[in-house]
Symmetry: C2
């Protein structure tokens, strides 16, 4: 695979392109131009072409892209042509929401473990899974070769859970807790931080109002 460094923004857009292309497949559209994709996801057509150019030449000059074909390429680029096992630690409302999220399994993400510390939650079932104690996390990660850990515990417990996950060998963590986590360099970390998002909105709102 190419050694070229891919901007993270490009990866994010590829995910949006793949979703848009799925829609086009459902609609029965056969061919699409960079401009049409661009309009669908709110970027420029040059951006779409540049993003795709990192990975090859998928289109036909004068014509555009074959929808099915391009979708297949992007799915492979994103590593969605295989399955990834996932554990969720913290089965409060947010964790439960993710556990039952439909768009998961269809994209190859299998949730194979739900863990919590609360005695009241342990033993309850959610979908096909039973909520287990945190003590079983390491075993579950190893036996299922789990590569992705999702953290939906309160901030105070988040670092500890991250440490347990990395010790057990996950390669990536999606962190929903309001904490900056320290993880080894080999572990890919992404943060989905509600407070930060709200505060960014607040920043732009108050700037806008003070300019009125």
């Amino acid at each position: 695979m190419k050694a070229l460094k891919i901007p993270e923004a490009t990866v994010v857009r590829l995910s949006l392109y793949s979703r848009h292309l799925r829609q086009l497949i459902n609609d029965g559209t056969l061919t699409v131009s960079s401009g049409e994709i661009a309009a669908g996801v709110g970027v420029s057509s040059a951006q779409v072409r540049k993003d795709l150019a990192y990975f090859g030449e998928f289109g036909t000059r004068g014509v555009g892209y074959n929808v099915q074909e391009l979708h297949g390429h992007i799915v492979r680029i994103l590593g969605l042509n295989r399955e990834w096992n996932v554990v969720i630690v913290g089965v409060g409302k947010l964790g439960s929401a993710l556990a039952v999220y439909k768009g998961f399994a269809s994209r190859g993400f299998n949730i194979v473990g739900l863990m919590d510390v609360s005695e009241q939650r342990i033993g309850l079932s959610l979908g096909k899974l039973v909520i287990e104690p945190l003590t079983i996390l390491e075993q579950r990660i190893r036996e299922k070769s789990v590569k992705i850990g999702i953290i939906t515990v309160p901030g105070s417990a988040a670092q500890e859970v991250a440490d347990m996950m990395t010790a057990a060998g996950v390669s990536s963590i999606l962190n929903f807790s309001p904490r900056v986590l320290k993880v080894p360099k080999r572990v890919i970390l992404r943060n989905v931080d509600l407070s930060v998002n709200m505060e960014v909105l607040s920043f732009y709102l108050s700037r806008f109002e003070s300019r009125q």
Copy 2:
């Protein structure tokens, strides 16, 4: 206020700094250096100083920053020294999770409306609020001067909800649905997209594995 354009990445980091400073205040720390803040949130010290420099000179050379004072500045910069009314549309698991999220009220975000289309949910109460039908959204936004709308409905309903919100006069939308929304330029839109985040992880995971 300054007309200077602030990078969005700077705003995101300011939110992280403010959280770290709150921690320092709790710990009773009086003074902090850019290097200490940087270590706490995982950026470089030059980055911290540059971010703050957009808004003024808050430190003392040779000494550092007064923790309380700097926190106060950042809170004001982020517009957190006032209250913002918020509505949440879509009270499934995710919407409920946000509705009861503790870190909300403490930062000045008041949830003043929970709306849903489901007959089973309408009338139920969650915290201090009762879930109302979507038909009341516009009225609630106007009477409470709601500036922030949160969308936690399925993708298929998201654009319609966004249209209702903007028609009623919200200035910003935090979108959790897996859709690219079209909103007027005056409306600030932020997306928190679970699928995209998972697919970005998948991309880096499969790149890493193919490099082994």
